[in-house]
Amino acid sequence: MTEPLLSVRDLVIEFPTRRGVLRAIDGVSFDIAPGEVLGMVGESGAGKSLTGAAIIGLLEPPGRIVSGEIKLKGERIDHLSPAAMRKIRGRRIGMVFQDPLTSLNPLYTVAKQLIETIRTHMNVSDAEARKRAVALLDRVGIPAADRRIDDYPHQFSGGMRQRVVIALALCAEPELVIADEPTTALDVSVQSQIIDLLKEICAEKGASVMLITHDMGVIAETADRVAVLYSGRIAEVGPVASVISEAEHPYTRGLMGSIPTLTHDSDRLVQIPGSMPRLNAIPPGCAFNPRCTQAFDRCRVERPFPIDRPGDRRVACWLYDEQEATHG
């Protein structure tokens, strides 16, 4: 296997609070290969966005990385000085936020924001930066880009604004793009356009994508591999086709059961009983055990480690431990 572009190992993020330390991310590990689209799914509060923020170095205090490491092309980036991290942000790792209505500064034209970003990372003249900006806007599908570039954000619709945001995230040609729920705030009718655009343009520029979402449908259409997050831990990682068709972790199976399909004729969608535990009340053993229909004694005392499975998959569940297979 080639060297991964991004490699996260045993990442732990904690928030010190007055009532003790909350561990929001607990031992998360995953890789993203060059050019790959990794989907990251999970419920609200599972730690998806937090992981993204940690990678790009924008964790908000008091949150902090307690242990683990984040490597970009083999080079650690989790403990860089603010100045060194700034050179990576935008230039090597781009980020697309959830809400295009609030991601753009309302008081500046699109041209000013694009040119400013291009000139921060590339040694080009104002005119050259503007030329690039227009080309980029054209590429992300803004009609009459040479004219619209001088408009203010409020003169664009939501979908168009998200295209501008994508152009901004990609204007210094980063190797990795972290897209944090890029379509959640958009109309359903433009969601797939934006996802297709993001995928297309990243493929064109050879950038990898970390796609954070709670929408399994989006993952199914877009991602190469998928990581399922639960309570700040990775439940399952694997190629998207096999994880969707034969989910191994009971939580992933529950997630899949909750997607409505047109082909299956069922009256009710399956739902997972209960809700994700709060950070200060994560049960011992497997975090999912109180909601799991297949939990047994070991799940309640011992935390499952990620078990390698055939087909380049990993699952953190005792059901797949060989010891259980032989004993049970």
Binding site: I56, L58, P82, R86, K87, I88, R89, G90, R91, G94, M95, F97, D99, T102, S103, L104, N105, P106, L107, Y108, T109, E116, T117, T120, H121, D151, Y152, H154, Q155, F156, S157, M160, V165, L168, A169, A172
Partner: protein, 328 residues
Amino acid sequence: MLAYLIRRIVQSAIVMLVVALVAFALFRYVGDPINAMVSQETTLEDRAALRDLLGLNDPFLVQFGRFIGNAVQGEFGMSYRLQQPVMELILQRLPATLELALVSGLAAFVLGVSAGVYTALNPRGGISTGIMTVSLIGVSLPTFLIGVLLIWLFAVELQWLPSFGRGETVTLPGGWVTGFLTPTGRISLILPAITLGLYQMTLIMRLVRAEMLEVLRTDYVKFARARGLSNRAVHFGHALKNTLVPVITITGLQLGSIIAFAIITETVFQWPGVGALFINSVRAVDVPVMAAYLVLIALIFVIINLIVDLLYYAVDPRLRVERGGARH
């Protein structure tokens, strides 16, 4: 833009009309103008004749119309106390008040915004805590007490600065009497300007700090950071401009109050401005001066408000709604 301007001007005219009505009612019905003009020996017949001559028996609307007509031409009658045209009295003293207000307003704005930005960017620093503590004193101490304390410290104990008056003044062509051009004039400005501006400064500072902290949490600031822009560009390019939108309004209104409420400071420092004139007129029930002062202050407020609205328009592109609505 033109329609907006015209609408605002019409609104301002209505406000001025209402203020003029109050001023007129004050002028006409607080005490009897005839009593103020004639001596005690005047016979009742002579009084009635004078009343007729001055048109005081005319219908209310006719009298009010005449008052407005005169006011528009700057004609507010004679001061009962000083037997001079009211407008002449006010114009003589206006430069002193305007110079004082300008210096303290400018100082309050510059220092307030700088201190506000500093405390927002370093919320936990020792200097910030110090500034916030001092600002608490600034907002809570009454103006006259600050003035008296400053006089005691700098004029009585240290004897560095004069405690009253404007110092030497120079009359510019056009009749503007300025204190800016002489050393004693400038030195005399210091204590009154601090007294008048301290409250405004702390108010602006606290406002800027609160707004800036708010803006620093917005998505577009996060997105600007995620694009790798320098702290300087993020703080002063993206955050500060957005912070200043609401600050402009408050500062404009405060400038109005600085002029209007210079009364106290002018009294404490025996500053020969319109505020002191007003106080002396109140003592002598010099109604024409009071009425004219009321109209003048209202006019200043209305003009400042108009300027603030236009500034808003210049700073915030979202207000410049194009004909035909936003494009998509």
